[in-house]
Every structure is written in structure tokens, then in C-alpha cells.
């Protein structure tokens, strides 16, 4: 009982330490947001919406029309920029939670958004178009969308346009995916920006989708988006945009990307876009190989290692608490295990990142991912470890007791080494799952391996080869890990006859 209480104290303590360490990191990130000489401004953007925001196929640098505009604004306003890439539907929550300060992502001004956010002066005037699979002649105007299925970013303005026209929305992360769904016949129609569609057609060389008409008469206006409590930043941006319009910088950037100036109200219509990624599939895959490997080495593997290490410690302490005869120690362990095993990892990641952020505990993406993944590993591995400890014969405890050992020493020197050998095969499974589960961290803004594949697929639309390539990377890592399992078992079991 004494020991188990100490085990609980340890669990609580390590929790506190971890939480403090993580929230400390969050606090320092937060303080970077306070106005100073050169304010650091965090920019939310997709990075997967060419030609507005995407990764240059040759250099993998974040680029695009919106990126160049915000960079020009930052130069004028004296901001330091920090880009945070996220799926479209995560960008507004990120702004709400204070994880980014501004969105530069062709955000269309509409009444709903105006009620909640501040907008800069518009820097793009564009038209929406209706896109269908080639050969579909049934749709030409928005009136024809009633009852059809449209693929859109759930929270985008184009989704709203399609919804208002009576279409049913299927949520996707990026335009390239929507186009692919059209080609595969899984949806009927896509509404999007004229320029984005032209860029896709030029990049992919696809003749399987077609622009069939305009989405309404109105020209839509896109602007930088801010939180309502941050009018200062909006004012600085407006001042900067006005100067950039006056000195012709905005027009130059637009000409450069679209061959036309779309930054003024009576914009010339864009009819020809050169395409953000016109390379062959082989070139695309070759170009993506390094960013994906970097995503693997810099994010996937460290995320796995840190989460597994912390998770195992947590699992051990939880297993010991779970085995305690003291109900007050046992209960939290039971609740923890049940909560982790009874809820989806994706939900746990959302809670760690967006949920905690909303109640004032803003944790950066990687620590938040480690927090959620290690808690997840802890919950699952606790039962594995508990089972292994229970399988060590009672006599081992008695023998250790009679030579004078107390509980901690007995556990460390006698029971756990024997339990470790029993636990290796099931824990290997946990590790293999974890390696693959890190891909879910892409939804909380961690630019890991899968995210890199998604990035590469957005301008090129080469889904099959890129995702197969990502799968190959995961498989190689898992293969190597499972190869190590045999020798490890042998080492831990060298005493067995």
C-alpha cells in the first residue's frame, strides 16, 4: 500500500512536470505575439492550394501568390513572419485559438465571416467557376446544382455557395482532391476559384474535368483575415497594402503569377495560368522524396521515439497503480486506461491541440502530438505491462522478499526484468502502431511524412504514386523495427533454456 501510494505520487508528479514543461513552452510562444519592435506574426495558410499557397516543386519552399503578398506586407509593416501550414478546415480554428495571427489563403469576404473576423482591404478579385467531369453537359449554372453532390473544403466560401445552391457537400482538404473525386465519378460538381482551376488544369494536363460555367454573377473579394481583438494588426496590414497597391508591387506579383492584375476591382479576366507544377509524375515523386524523408526524420521518427519513451514510463506507473490494492490508487489508473482505450486517437489529438488551446493551455503542435500520442501509448501499454508483471510467478516475489528486498527493489531487479521479456512482442505491436499513428499528427499542423506527401500531391495531383511512396517509407521503418524484435527478445531471454 505504501509503495503503491508512492507510485501514484510518481504518476502525478511526472504528469505535472510534463504539463509544466509543455505549457512553459506554450507561454514563451505566446509572449512572441505581444507587440514589440519587430513583431513576429504567425500566418496560417494551407500550403496546398496552388497557385496561391503551395510548395515550390523544385525547392520545396513555401510560395504562391498569397505568400508573396503577405511577405510584401510584412516588409512594409516591419513584421517577422512565421508560417503555420494546416488543412483549410483547421485554419479558422487556429486563428480562433490564437495559434496564428492572420490567415493568407484566398479567404473570401462574406457576411458570416465579417461578423466574426476582421478583414484587410481585398487583394484579389476573382470569380468562382463550376467544374464537372469532362462530358457532363447537365450543369452550366448554379441553378443546376440543386440535389447534386459537391466536393469542397467544408468551411470554405465555395462550400457555402454550393450549399446555398442546393448541393450536398462532401468535405475534402484541398482542391486537387476535389478534382480527383470528380474524375473518379464520386461527386458531381466542384465550385472553386477560376484561377485555382486553371492552375490545376495547367499543372495536371488533365482533360478529364472541365469548367462549365461561372458560379454566379458576383466578383468575390479575398483578403487577409484577423481576429476581432487584433485591430492593430489589421490596420498595419491595410496601411501596407495601400502602399503596395500605390507602388505597383501588388500588380507585379499578380502579373507574375497570373499574367493579369487581379488585385483591383475591375480586374481583367484570367484566362491562362502557367501551372504551378507541370512536371512529369517521375519528377514529382523524385522531388517529393527528400521532403518526405525529411518529414520522416525530423518529425515522424522523433515523434515516435519521444511518445514511445514517455508512453512506456506512463504505462509502467499506470500498470503498478492499477495493480495496487488501494482503491484510491487503482481508480485513476482504471479511468485513464478506459478513457484512452475507449476514445479515438484522432479525438485525443484534437483535444490536446484545439481543446486545451481553448481553455488557455496552448501547446505547440509537436508537444501536443507527443502529449496525445504518449498518453495513448501509456493507456494501451499499461495493460500489456500489467499482464506481463502478473505472469511473473508469485514465488519470485516471495524469494525476493525473503532475501530482504522491498517493493521498489524487488520490482526493479527481479520482477520487471522477467516481465520485460514477456512484454516485448506485444509492445512491438504497440510501437508499430505508433509509427503509423504519427501520420494523424498532420491534422494538428505537424508537417510529418504524410503531410509532405499531401503537400506534393496538391499541385501535381499525382495521388497514387505519392501515397504509395509514403506507404513505402512507413513500411521500411516498420520492417526495420520488426527486424529488431527478434534479437531483443533473444537478449532479454538469454537465460531461458
Amino acid at each position: 500500500m505504501q509503495q503503491s501510494r508512492r507510485a501514484l505520487a510518481l504518476v502525478v508528479l511526472s504528469w505535472l512536470v510534463a504539463t509544466l514543461a509543455l505549457s512553459g513552452g506554450a507561454a514563451s510562444a505566446e509572449s512572441a505575439g505581444t507587440p514589440a519592435e519587430a513583431r513576429t506574426v504567425r500566418v496560417g495558410t494551407e500550403g496546398t492550394y496552388p497557385p496561391f499557397t503551395f510548395h515550390d516543386p523544385d525547392t520545396d519552399e513555401l510560395t504562391g501568390f498569397d505568400i508573396e503578398v503577405i511577405r510584401a506586407v510584412a516588409d512594409e509593416a516591419g513584421w517577422d513572419l512565421e508560417f503555420v501550414e494546416a488543412p483549410f478546415d483547421s485554419i479558422f480554428p487556429a486563428l480562433d485559438a490564437g495559434r496564428v495571427d492572420v490567415i493568407a489563403n484566398q479567404i473570401t469576404i462574406n457576411p458570416e465571416r465579417e461578423a466574426r473576423y476582421l478583414f484587410s482591404a481585398p487583394y484579389t478579385y476573382s470569380r468562382g467557376v463550376i467544374v464537372t467531369a469532362a462530358g457532363n453537359d447537365d450543369v452550366t449554372t448554379l441553378d443546376d446544382l440543386d440535389g447534386l453532390v459537391a466536393a469542397e473544403n467544408e468551411t470554405s466560401n465555395w462550400a457555402q455557395v454550393a450549399r446555398d445552391a442546393g448541393a450536398e457537400i462532401r468535405a475534402v482538404d484541398q482542391f486537387a482532391q476535389a478534382a480527383e473525386l470528380l474524375v473518379q465519378g464520386r461527386v458531381d460538381v466542384v465550385v472553386n476559384d477560376n484561377i485555382a482551376v486553371l492552375d490545376y488544369l495547367a499543372s495536371s494536363g488533365s482533360d478529364e474535368i472541365q469548367i462549365v460555367g461561372e458560379a454566379g454573377e458576383e466578383v468575390s473579394r479575398q483578403a487577409l483575415t484577423f481576429r476581432q481583438d487584433d485591430p492593430e494588426l489589421q490596420q498595419e496590414a491595410d496601411d501596407a497594402l495601400a502602399r503596395l497597391a500605390d507602388d505597383g508591387t501588388l500588380a507585379d506579383i499578380s502579373e507574375d503569377y497570373f499574367g493579369a492584375d487581379v488585385t483591383v476591382e475591375d480586374a481583367a479576366e484570367v484566362t491562362d495560368v502557367k501551372g504551378s507544377d507541370t512536371r512529369s509524375t517521375a519528377e514529382v515523386v523524385r522531388g517529393a522524396a527528400w521532403p518526405m524523408l525529411r518529414g520522416l526524420l525530423v518529425y515522424t521518427l522523433p515523434l515516435t521515439a519521444a511518445s514511445f519513451a514517455i508512453g512506456l514510463v506512463l504505462a509502467l506507473l499506470t500498470a503498478l497503480a492499477r495493480m495496487s490494492s488501494n482503491r484510491l490508487v487503482q481508480l485513476p489508473a482504471r479511468v485513464y486506461i478506459s478513457a484512452i482505450r475507449g476514445t479515438p486517437l484522432l479525438v485525443q489529438l484534437f483535444i490536446a491541440f484545439y481543446g486545451l488551446g481553448q481553455i488557455g493551455l496552448t501547446i505547440p503542435p509537436v508537444p501536443a502530438a507527443i502529449l496525445a500520442l504518449s498518453l495513448n501509448v501509456g493507456g494501451y501499454a499499461a495493460e500489456v505491462i500489467r499482464g506481463s508483471i502478473l505472469s511473473v510467478p508469485r514465488g519470485q516475489y516471495e524469494a525476493a522478499t525473503t532475501i530482504g528486498m522491498r517493493y521498489p527493489q524487488l520490482m526493479r531487479r527481479i520482477v520487471l526484468p522477467q516481465a520485460a521479456r514477456i512484454a516485448v512482442p506485444p509492445l512491438s505491436n504497440t510501437l508499430l502502431s505508433l509509427i503509423k499513428d504519427t501520420s494523424l499528427a498532420s491534422v494538428i499542423l505537424v508537417p510529418e511524412l504524410l503531410r509532405q506527401a499531401v503537400n506534393a500531391a496538391s499541385p501535381s495531383a499525382d495521388f497514387m504514386p505519392l501515397y504509395l511512396f509514403a506507404a513505402l517509407y512507413y513500411w521500411v521503418v516498420c520492417f526495420l523495427v520488426s527486424q529488431a524484435q527478434g534479437p531483443l527478445e533473444k537478449r532479454l531471454g538469454r537465460y531461458a533454456a
Binding site: 505504501q2 514465488g395 519470485q396 525473503t402 530482504g404 522477467q418 537465460y495
Partner: protein
């Protein structure tokens, strides 16, 4: 020889649920003597032995070995004091189990060093020298670096004995040390115990080996249904007075 017994147990009671296994048992043993506890299965003999090092916690009664005493009936003792008392009591004895319970992940030598070095904090070199001497004494010189799984049952049990001796305890407790062995291996283990008895160790042995007990024991306790039915020197086994003892001896000595 001192007049105070080395081991003294008074009024030991223990029930598992409704089943009262010890109904007030007294036991005392002088230093340097071998005590054999015999009796039918379920008579409570193993429970007595395990009460002496508190692997089983008696409901009431006291146990004393040398200067360490635990009064199990005294509910006023707080938990940490009780733990200290129990540890002090345990530090005076070593135990040999029916199925050895050697640490399978440690070599023979490491099994012997675990207590002296890790618990008692003795110097490794000195403890190693002692351990090697003990292994020689139980006939296992040269087996230091083998794992228990590489030894025969009899050898394993002799390592178990050496491990108990390595603690340098005042008393060695044996819980049916030969019951789990193949018949042809029993002799080598009994020979080692006999050797200990003659060289002055204080032993308490729960056993079914009546002939062995008759040869080795200075004191014999015959336990029946949770009470000591007969007690005395080894003559208890040659010339029992109680009818219950006679019946038992007839059954085990003349099988069939």
C-alpha cells in the same frame, strides 16, 4: 548453550476465511538445533513456517527470532513500525522453497549475491568469495556463471540452499525442500541439509521425509489440524505416544 531459545513463537492463530489453519501454536527452538515439522497435508505446517518470516501474516500471536519480535495481535502498531518490525524479523532468516524460486534471469552466482550485495550492501569482492565458498560447500563449484535453467532439479535446489545461506542468517527455513524433486535427486539435497545440521546451523524444516527427520532432527513437532499433537526429540518418530501420530507414521512409512 544459552538458556533463551533463538526462535520463539507463541499462540499463533491463522484463518483463511472460515478455515482455521492454526489454532494457537507455540514453538521454540534453541540455537544450533534442527527442528522438523511434520504432519498430514493441510495440518498447517507450512503456514507455521511461513509465519516465522511473515510470508503469511498470522491473525494473532507473537514471533521472535533473536532480538526481533512481532506481536501480530497488537493492533495499535502503526503500519510503518510494523513494516520495520517485519523486516527486522525477516533479516534473521533465510528460506528454501519447495520449488526453489531461483531468479531465472540471473546466473547462479548472481542469485547468491543479490541479497548480500543489493540488500545488505556488502562489498562485491568479499561477498563473491563467500558465495563461491558456499557453492563449493553444496557441491556446485564451477557452476557460477550458469543460469538456473541449465541445472538439474537437485542442483537448482542446492543453489536455493546456498542462496539462503549467503544471507548469513541465524535461521534457515526449509519448506518441503525435496517434495518437488525426482526421487533420484532427493538424496543429494538431503545430504546438504544434513551437513548443515551437523555443522551447527539452526534449521526449521517442514518435510515429508520421516527417516531423514528421524536422523537429523533434534526436535520434532507433529502437527494435526492446526494444533501441535505431539512434540519431543526424534523419539517422537521412533516411539510415538499419541494415536494420531502413530496412524500418520504408519501411513507414510508403510505405503500400500
Amino acid at each position: 548453550m544459552s538458556t533463551t531459545p533463538l526462535i520463539e513463537a507463541r499462540g499463533l492463530r491463522k484463518a483463511f476465511g472460515d478455515n482455521e489453519v492454526l489454532k494457537g501454536v507455540d514453538l521454540s527452538a534453541d540455537e544450533g538445533t534442527a527442528t522438523a515439522i511434520i504432519g498430514p497435508s493441510g495440518s498447517g505446517k507450512t503456514t507455521i513456517l511461513r509465519s516465522l518470516n511473515v510470508l503469511e501474516v498470522p491473525d494473532s500471536g507473537t514471533v521472535r527470532i533473536a532480538d526481533a519480535t512481532v506481536d501480530f495481535g497488537d493492533a495499535s502498531v502503526d503500519r510503518s513500525t510494523r513494516r520495520d518490525e517485519v523486516e527486522a524479523l525477516r533479516s534473521h532468516s533465510g528460506m528454501v522453497f519447495q520449488s526453489h524460486h531461483l531468479f531465472p534471469h540471473k546466473t547462479v552466482l548472481q542469485n547468491l549475491l543479490e541479497g548480500p550485495v543489493q540488500v545488505q550492501g556488502r562489498e562485491v569482492d568479499e561477498a563473491t568469495a563467500d558465495a563461491r565458498r558456499l557453492l563449493e560447500q553444496v557441491g556446485l563449484a564451477g557452476r557460477e556463471d550458469q543460469y538456473p535453467s541449465q541445472l538439474s532439479g537437485g542442483q537448482q535446489q542446492r543453489v536455493g540452499i546456498a542462496r539462503a545461506l549467503a544471507l548469513n542468517p541465524e535461521v534457515v527455513l526449509f519448506d518441503e525442500p525435496t517434495s518437488a524433486l525426482d526421487p533420484e535427486l532427493v538424496g543429494e539435497v538431503l545430504a546438504v541439509i544434513r551437513d548443515l545440521a551437523t555443522s551447527g546451523w539452526t534449521l526449521v524444516i517442514v518435510t515429508h521425509e520421516i527417516r531423514f527427520a528421524r536422523d537429523v532432527a533434534d526436535q520434532v513437532l507433529f502437527l494435526d489440524a492446526g494444533v501441535i499433537a505431539e512434540q519431543g526429540g526424534s523419539e517422537v518418530l521412533r516411539d510415538p505416544q499419541q494415536e494420531r501420530t502413530k496412524q500418520f507414521l504408519r501411513r507414510v512409512l508403510e505405503p500400500g
